[in-house]
Structures are given as C-alpha cells and as structure tokens.
Amino acid sequence: MGIRERMSGNEAVAHAIKQVNPDVMAAFPITPSTEIPQMVSTFIANGEIDTEFIPVESEHSSMSATMGACAAGARAITATSSCGLAFMWEVLYVAASDRLPVVMAVVNRALTGPININCDHSDSMGARDSGWLQIYAETNQEAYDNYIQSFRIAEHPDVRLPMMVCQDGFITSHAVMNIELIEDEKVKNFVGTYNPENYLLNADMPMAIGPYANSPFYMETKMNQRIAMKNAKKVILEVAKEFEKISGRKYGLFEEYKMDDAEYAIVIMGSAAGTTKDAVDALRAEGIKAGMIKIRVFRPFPGEELAAALSKVKAVAILDRAESFSGQGGPVGSELKAALMDAGVSAKAVNYFYGLGGRDYTVGDAEKVYRNLIDMTENGKKLEQFKYIGLRK
C-alpha cells in the first residue's frame, strides 16, 4: 500500500527526486519552481541523498551543466520555470539532438512580458519544437507519478530524448493536496539505475558527442529524432502499464472523462482539467452529454489517438493556456485541428484561450464553453474562434 501524505506539487517532485537519488542536479532558482532545487539541496545537506548539486549562475548554465553531466554518464536533472526555461533555449535543442535523456521539472509560468509570475503554458509551449518529450499533470499526484515514470521513458534505448515533466505554477506547485506516495524501495526498483551504453567518462571507449552536422547530415539527424519521438508513444504506454502495477494508478497519452457517449467535449491540459470535470458533472446532471479529454502527453503529440477519441462528438472546444499570435489559434488548438482534419473527423472544432498569466478559469467558464458548443451546433449560432475566456470587455 502507498503512503498517505499531503504535500504541494513542488514537494511531491522533490520527494520523487529524493527517492530516485539522481547523480547530478544543476539548477538556478526561479519562481515558482525554486522550491524544488531548494528542497533537494536540503536533502543533500542532511545526508539523505548523495546527488551532486551544481549551483550555477544562470539557466543557460544549468541546462549546459545538466546535459554535460548526462553526456559524461550521469543521471542528471534540473528544474525551472518561465524565463528560466527561455534562457535555456539554445541548449534545449542541443540536449535533444545529442540524444541526452535529462529530466527537467518544469513548473509552468507565463513568459514575461508583461512580467507575471502566475501560471500559463507559454514557457513550455515555446519549447514545444525543441525535440523534448513533454508530459503535463493535473494534480500533485500526477506530477509525482509522471516524474517517477519520466526516467524510464527518457532513458529507454528506443527513445533517448530529454523530457520535461510539467505542472501548473502555484495552482499545482504550491497548493497542498492529499497524495499517495510510493515506498522508496518500490520507486528505486521501478526507476532502476542509469547505465548508458556509451558515455564520455568511459576510458575504454572515448567518444565524440555533438559533432558538426552541416547540410549533408542535419536532416538525417532530425529524422532520427523524429523516430525516437514516435517510439516514445509506445514506451510511455508500456511504462504506464508497469507503473500501474506498483501504484494502482492508470495513465495513458490522455485521460478521457465521460467521453463514451459525449456529444460535446473540451480538450484541455493541466490543472484546469479538474475544473472542467466539475462542469461536465454539472451538465450531465442536466442531461447534457458533456465530456472532457485531458492531454497528458503533448510531445509526442497523440494526434491520431485524440482524433479517434473525438470521432463521435458533435463539437469540441480545444482550450489553450498559451497564446501564439498566429491568428490561427494556440499550440494545442492548431495541432489538434490539423489532426482532426487529417483523420477526417467532421466535428465542429473551436479553439479558445483561457488562464493566460494566471487568469481564473472557473467551473462557470467551462459550462459556458459547453453551452456555446451546443448553441453553435443546435441553435445556429455563428461559430466563433479564438476567444479569450474571462476577457473584460
């Protein structure tokens, strides 16, 4: 049986790090992820773990040190948020193309500007094309569970890609909730030790990492990254199955909530899924067939699987917590709409924005989205795209 506790999302991730006891953590503090390296430092100071902590002068350095340690053969981690993630930009792409399975806890926070410390997904969404795996959590429990699973996914020989384990800043990272922890030994056995086939500190086989790859090699390198990303889908599901055996908790590429007979759906990611579930329950009580899909894995994007799950709905609202200013919607909206079109799904699909910079998204807001879908489908209301939910006007 697991251990009943109550803790914040940051505490949950720090606890998972303590259980994994990685070789190296290089980090620079930034709200709202600061607590993670702070707590890990405390574990190290107390002699509870023997992780080598590298205090660096910036996030560019923390990502560089993390990927350097990983290349050397260490299980290496870091944590960041917002502008810290943006400052890592250059190195994110290097870690991915060098196929270094570093794990990074991302506590999502709006990118400046205007300067803002609250949750949205603009930080990790900005890094969506960097070649990193991305997984998102609704609750502290999911942040903890995803974090434990991430090492097995990132380090799998068919994958070997870096991974961001994301949770919503303050909403999940700082709010204290009940949680069921897994016993230390079970976590250690599940995660295992990191034994890379090749690493820089192996004197028996010197190696080069990150050689120059100009036009004759660049596209082939990207193709290999794409294949690894595609392989990750299967590995994520396999790891989830094994995780269920030690935890009793089921995970997939996304979670479907009352989708079996749903006519109207919201697709959303992160903590706001909980709010949306309450709206689904309220509408179901009125006899409205509402359902919800919460995307857990955003990279690789489960486009075909989502399209299949949405193939029978009348209308779907895809909710983005990051603006992209394309005029064609946010990252989740544009990718999912493209997937729906490719799969020939004819449901009406709208893409709205919510919660930017930490703006509240309430059960009432979610209910309005569903009623709007009904109006567009049943009552001839004109389809309106790209609305900001909760915008003052």
Partner: protein
C-alpha cells in the same frame, strides 16, 4: 559499449538509419582519417638551417602536427595543420615562417 565507429563509413551517402543516435562517434582519433589541413589559409614553413631541434614548437601545436623522431622534429603534418601560427611565434630562432596560402 558500442564498437568504434568507422567514420569513413558514415558519409554524405549514408541513409539516416546508418547514422548513430545523436551523431555520436565512438573510439578516438577519427580526425586522422580526414584532411582537415585544407582549412588552412597560412602555412608554416621550416628553415632547417635555423632549426636547433629545441622542440619547443612541438608541445605548443594544438593539433599535434609537429612529429618528433629520435629527439629531432620532422616536417609538419600538413594534412592536419590549420595554420594557426603558434609554432612560428614560439620559435626562438626564427626558423618557422608563415607563408600565405595552403
């Protein structure tokens, strides 16, 4: 542990599936197989009448292009010399001059 990579087998005709993950190259010394000296824009030339074989130039060469045999230096390894000119600067006897071109 992987086998040493045969860097000559990975070339501009290799399909993507023959390229190692992350383009990693296993086993050292791969650069020996390539004529990297073609990058050079200046070329060191030794005047054997002035050279005293003090051997200060050899350890200063960042590309190990000044071979030594039986206590005496030999001519430059022009296949790998990049023409940086450090050997010319450190030579106390003015025995190494940099000529323009390859």
């Amino acid at each position: 542990m992987s086998q040493p990579t045969d860097v000559l087998e990975i070339n501009e005709k290799s399909p993507y599936y023959d390229i190692t993950p992350g383009n990693q190259i296993y086993g050292g010394g791969g650069a020996k197989k390539f004529n990297t000296g073609e990058w050079r824009t200046e070329t060191p030339v030794i005047d054997w009448d002035k050279c005293t074989h003090c051997l200060l130039c050899t350890p200063c060469c960042p590309d190990s292009c000044i071979p030594v045999k039986d206590g005496k230096r030999e001519d430059f390894d022009y296949d790998h010399c990049k023409g940086c000119g450090i050997c010319s600067k450190v030579c106390s006897f003015g025995a190494i001059t940099m000529k323009e071109g390859i």
